[in-house]
Symmetry: C2
Subunit: 257 residues, 2 copies
């Protein structure tokens, strides 16, 4: 696109798709990065990493595309909540498969031989949040016929741990939503109500925690992408009312960081 507006891309499951809710992390990022970077939400409700990998290859700009598209300068990756569902639910990915898929995703971006090799894309991982067995359990129990609980806290915790390890191994910063929400809940399922809509999907308070940690993580690890360090691509109005060179002042200030 002309004007060289870069993008932040979000990939993940319903927690990411729901980021466009009022107070969601996509909405907050879009507001904060207005006139600096676009936010492209590629969240896919109900998806696991197995399915998402196929979509990624159809969504992320290929480096043989001849340009013209936006550059994704920051890719935020948030999977695990559905991979961690218990069998026989179809979305279940065994932990080794989840790790392999996450590894494949990173390799697609980082291997020079990959069609998606993208050295200008900074990465950020998010761990899956805890779920509330109380809320989720009562929703499933109220269905006709009643369904058993489809997640296990220790299992979800292991998927979060896998994301932390991947971050360490690959030197990618991680926002550890699992730990942030669990500790914020006082380490008790009863405490999770404050973060949850329905036991699985987080609310605006949890998204605010996420947003704050994304911005502070960007500040530490990718300061060139922090909103305070990116110019408005086009001049702020208070410069416009002072300038004597209207056309010159209106030239794009896009910074290819």
């Amino acid at each position: 696109m002309a004007g060289n507006m870069d993008a932040i891309m979000l990939i993940g499951d319903s927690l990411t798709q729901g980021g466009w809710e009022p107070g969601g992390f996509a909405q907050r990022l879009a507001y904060r990065y207005a006139r600096k970077m676009d936010v492209l939400n590629r969240g896919l409700s109900g998806y696991n990493t197995e399915w998402a990998l196929e979509v990624f290859k159809q969504t992320f700009p290929r480096n043989d595309g001849g340009g013209g598209g936006q550059k994704v300068k920051l890719l935020i990756i948030w999977f695990g909540a559905n991979d961690a569902v218990l069998p026989p639910k179809v979305q279940h990915s065994p932990l080794p498969k989840f790790k392999e898929n996450m590894h494949t995703l990173i390799s697609l971006l980082r291997s020079p031989s990959s069609a998606y090799h993208s050295p200008h894309t900074r990465l950020l991982l998010i761990t899956p949040p805890p779920f509330s067995s109380l809320q989720r359990g009562s929703i499933l129990a109220s269905r006709t016929p009643p369904e058993p609980l489809d997640r296990d806290q220790a299992v979800t915790r292991a998927y979060a741990q896998a994301v932390r390890e991947l971050g360490e191994e690959q030197a990618i910063p991680v926002v550890d939503m699992y730990t942030l929400l669990w500790e914020g809940a006082g380490g008790k399922e009863e405490g999770l109500d404050k973060w949850m809509q329905d036991g699985l999907h987080v609310n605006a308070a949890a998204y605010e925690v996420l947003y704050d940690h994304i911005v502070s993580t960007v500040k530490t690890h990718y300061p060139e992408l922090h909103p305070d360090n990116l110019p408005f691509v086009f001049a702020p109005w208070d410069e416009m009312i002072r300038t004597t060179d209207v056309k010159g002042t209106l030239q794009s200030r896009y910074k290819n960081v």
Copy 2:
């Protein structure tokens, strides 16, 4: 971008830039069009049409760009609030100049000889909203030194009227925010509080009115772009858990309407 995700582009002033607020019309559109079309907000706080035209030429995809970028299928144009400010404020554009600039903008998109000619882009105009002389007046009066009121309701109304006329003349649908908010206020400045943050910028209630009218206008005039008529570009999860052809089901369903 691969995956062929089309875009809705918003151009305008601070009323548009603020569309990313929680409950703003950009947030609401992004939520509703998730997995169907991206929302690209090109709102420029404080801008008039004179400045915005220069930015448009650097922002809107040129048709000689060789492809690769997203197609803007819907362009929502919302100017007038700053053009209608009274002189000597620098943002003032006389009414004939405002009309000319709006006309130029449309011509850039519709003239076959234009570098921005874009037959696949549907257009939608929004009239500038009323301002509250009570709220705006008291904010300006409280400045040091106090400033006089910088807008006139009859003037803003004339700019709204110009947008309505342009829509009629060019056969472009118009969401008449001026009339919607004014009538919703009982035709009295005192009633405008319910729509306003500060006398100029509208609140989430007004953005909801706007969003609802955008969606219903799209339904009437561009039904192929109504969210109910666009598929998720990638399969919903409840299809995924039933399919026996995972890879086939995950192929992009992008519809070039």
